[in-house]
Amino acid sequence: MAKEKKTRSLRIMNMHIPYHIVMIIWSFIAAFPLYFLLINTFKVKKEIYTNFFGLPKKWTLENYQALFANSDFFAYFRNSFLVVVISLFMILLLGSLAAYALAHWRTRFSRVVYFFFVIGMMLPIKIATIRLLQIMKALNTLNTLFSLYPVYIAMGLPTAVFILTEFVHGLPGELYEAAYMDGAGRFKIWYRIVIPLIRPALATVAIYNLVPIWNDLWFPLIFITKESSKTVLLAVTRLQGQYTTDWPKVLTVLAMSALPVIALYLTMSKSFIKGLTAGAVKG
């Protein structure tokens, strides 16, 4: 009798009802604004005035159609895409080369170089904005995407060096020995052995940088005013003036700027969470 009571209370305890209540409330709070964003993109212009939070009475795709018919929008998307892909590629390339060297080269000087990189993880690059603006002016890259690539590459390197050096350092030494015996040079070892083996760490670094670069507003806002060089996020800032009365259209653009990253996140949420919190977790 007593035993039965105990197992039953344990079972109820393991249901964690109060915890579920807390988490359900927060899940609702976390998801509601995004629900609101999505459903309103399927409403016709007038319906939002009468039906603000509810599901559309009449579903429509016309907001999306209007958006895709707008060629400016494609240019913004292409720009954001280019910025992310090229910056990430360079961060991974330069970062993995430097990490390969710093994991093997162990002198007092190399430690200094390593710490010089790593300290950049703690310092926001925004502090350098005014000087960077002058540099970009001098290089004549303002109003082009070439003013953004170098900044994002520089910004991504500290974490890349930090994460990749630890990772390369943890690889078993026999691998190099064997390759070296077979006559592979150091550069060949880098691209034939190191790169394939550190792929998980490269993915972490890529995700860590992908979201902030795609979502960055600060540098495009300062460096770019020309229409054809704008990124999606920068284009979003102009919406309010552009179609002030057509809220479903505004929300459609907001949704389209957010959906690629959300979709990517939902398909690989574990590596995303790992990537986005990587900068702060030691080794």
């Binding site: 430097a98 000087r131 540099i135 500290p158 020995e177 977790v281």
Partner: protein, 316 residues
Amino acid sequence: MAAKSRTAQAFQGGKSIRPGGFYWMRYVIPALIFYVVFMAYPMLDSVRLSLYEGTAGVRQYVGLANYVRLFTDEVVSKRFWNAFFNNWIFFAYHMILQNALGITFAAILTNRTMRGRQFYQTLIFIPCTVAVLVTGYLFKIMMNPQWTKAPLEAAGLGFLVHIPSGWLGDPGTALSAVSLVSVWQWVGIPTMMFVAAFQGIDDDLIEAASIEGANAWQQFTRIRIPLIVPVIGMVAIMTFVSNFNAFDVVFAMETLDGAPDYSTDLIGTLFYRYGVAGQHPVGIPEPGVGSAISTSIFAMLLCGVVPTLIKTQGKE
């Protein structure tokens, strides 16, 4: 690095397998060039810029005059101290509320026997992947009483509406509203960091404690929290650095001026107005004053980050 890695040993073994001198430098230089030219140098050189006045061409060395203006000039210092104070409030919301929520959620989500943890984790983290600008605009629309008064009152949630100006239009509530939106968005980051930290705790410790008769609350406060102090320190540093860096949320919800009446002006928006765009109504950027602002914040971040690192990261 006391213990040599296996890699290093392997390279030490052969005669030429471990190159000496600066051989490895050729692999580091490309990264170093980008990092120095576009980050380290401009950051340090901003300190020098803060000692000059005027823009390129007519630049003039003025010593500490920009700092004197920033801290004591009637107009400029009023804006600076206002933004500085606002930024501390903004930071306090995150430090206290966001991290308390994060640690609570993490404690819940690391219960082995609880179902649906993966689902909750995924959901909590979604806002972190969306641009601040997007969530800022969204909340701005949702907080507009013109839109939300009728539907919320119909749903019995009339207390969520602030009449007549809305939460964002009232100087007394605007900063809190902006801070809460930012807390809402970023709570996933500390949550996930605390989840990782709690999962790293050795089960034997918890088991030993429960055999000794410690209840769940005692286990939490006496064992789990003390064991994750290094992570709490890291989270505190990240919160500090990122909040004195905030810009987008105010830009999206309250414009560059930190409306209404500068009540949501933060260091980020102030820096943008003085250093990049030019303060209203003159409209001429003052790189010197802007650099003085960023240098002051740089110094403050260092003063906050270094002691916290030393205190919480143990012997290392």
